[in-house]
């Protein structure tokens, strides 16, 4: 995944004749299955031997998980969850829908990883 990211950013840097990438901004969805620590660690290891990335910072935004009620379509944003969202999800899914009082809230979206912005010199 990180190698794929670096490949994509390298192409952007080449298009803009940049010789150094200073910052990469990403949004990692709570249901993407990505472990943030592992992702950042992989980047730190891979960037060491790479001139283009050796001084790059990774800034990761993690949107709140959204659950959707399959009965009435109501969407609930789950606040205050930073890490381990997927584990906690089991608990949330047993909660009642605040709109129609039925059980069975299911994850909605949040499974993507977006490259938002690249800063380079």
């Amino acid at each position: 995944m990180v190698q794929g990211l670096m490949k994509q950013v390298r192409e952007i840097a080449q298009d803009h004749q940049a010789h150094r990438v200073t910052c990469i901004r990403l949004s990692i969805g709570p249901f993407s299955g990505v472990v943030l620590d592992s992702f950042s660690f992989a980047f730190e290891v891979l960037k060491r031997d790479d001139e283009l990335f050796s001084q790059s910072r990774l800034v990761i935004k993690t949107p709140a998980p959204v659950l959707k009620c399959p009965h009435c379509g109501h969407e609930v944003e789950v606040q205050g969850v930073v890490e381990g969202e997927m584990e906690l999800f089991g608990t949330f899914s047993r909660a009642k829908c605040p709109s129609c009082d039925m059980y069975g809230l299911a994850p909605f979206g949040g499974d993507d990883i977006l490259l938002l912005q690249v800063e380079m010199e």
Binding site: F31, M86, S93, D111, L114, L115, E119
Partner: protein, 233 residues
């Protein structure tokens, strides 16, 4: 840029800020769409099979080969980290099979499968098939994130693995069309709660179909074959 105050002096080069807003999966998904069209040109539907190692994907395909040999033409793309073993098992049943070895990667991606489809097309007489099964690398985590161009995605859990797997590996269930509980002949010997497995899977994905099968005892195999003929209609 000057790191202390942000003024644009110092190195003499201005930093460029490029807004991208692209999914990291985008490149894979584009190739996946091409795969889907390629499969359709061959007259086939593609089925991506995801499970842990040893859940019984290959065994199910062997049993499917025995049952459908004379009525449905199918081919198999096998994904493994190493060896041709699974492809050899399928070929022994008279079914064309291509082995993809990822050389370490824990999942198939659309680009690898693209090569697999070409290879399969090459070895099938006339290049036409009804179904292409893509047996993913045994792993319930990463394969779930990579669209391969499949028309249907199947997630399989075998009885010895335990009925907590849907709750523990949600993404594989969120993205699948069918949940197969395999090795059902072992249900009397394990504390596997069919009810827990199904209710957890449906909690994650209310529209997921469920089949309980055992290629060994034959249980549920009629329903599995019905499911396949339903896809072909």
């Amino acid at each position: 840029m000057c790191e202390k105050c942000g003024c644009q002096t110092g190195m003499g080069t201005k930093p460029k800020v490029i807004d991208v807003n692209k999914s990291l999966f985008e490149a894979n998904e584009k190739i996946g769409e091409q795969n889907r069209h390629h499969v359709e040109r061959m007259g086939a539907v593609a089925i991506n099979m995801i499970s842990s190692p040893g859940a019984g994907k290959t065994t199910l395909l062997e049993a499917t080969a025995d049952a459908l040999k004379d009525s449905v033409t199918f081919g198999v793309i096998e994904g493994d980290i190493e060896t041709e073993k699974d492809a050899q098992r399928i070929r022994a049943k008279g079914i064309p099979a291509v082995q993809l070895t990822t050389g370490g990667a824990c999942h198939l991606d659309a680009s690898l499968v693209h090569h697999g489809i070409h290879e399969l097309e090459h070895i099938v007489p006339g290049g036409r098939l009804d179904i292409i099964f893509i047996e993913n690398v045994g792993n319930l985590v990463c394969p779930a994130a990579f669209y391969l161009g499949e028309h249907k995605r199947i997630v399989m859990v075998s009885v010895p693995e335990g009925s907590d797997k849907p709750a523990k590996y949600p993404r594989a269930f969120i993205g699948s069309d069918l949940f197969v509980i395999s090795k059902a002949d072992l249900l009397p010997y394990f504390d596997f709660s069919v009810e827990e497995a199904i209710s957890e899977a449906r909690r994650l994905n209310p529209s997921i179909d469920v089949l309980i099968i055992s290629p060994k005892s034959g249980q549920g195999m009629d329903k599995w074959l019905d499911y396949l003929s339903g896809i072909l209609k």
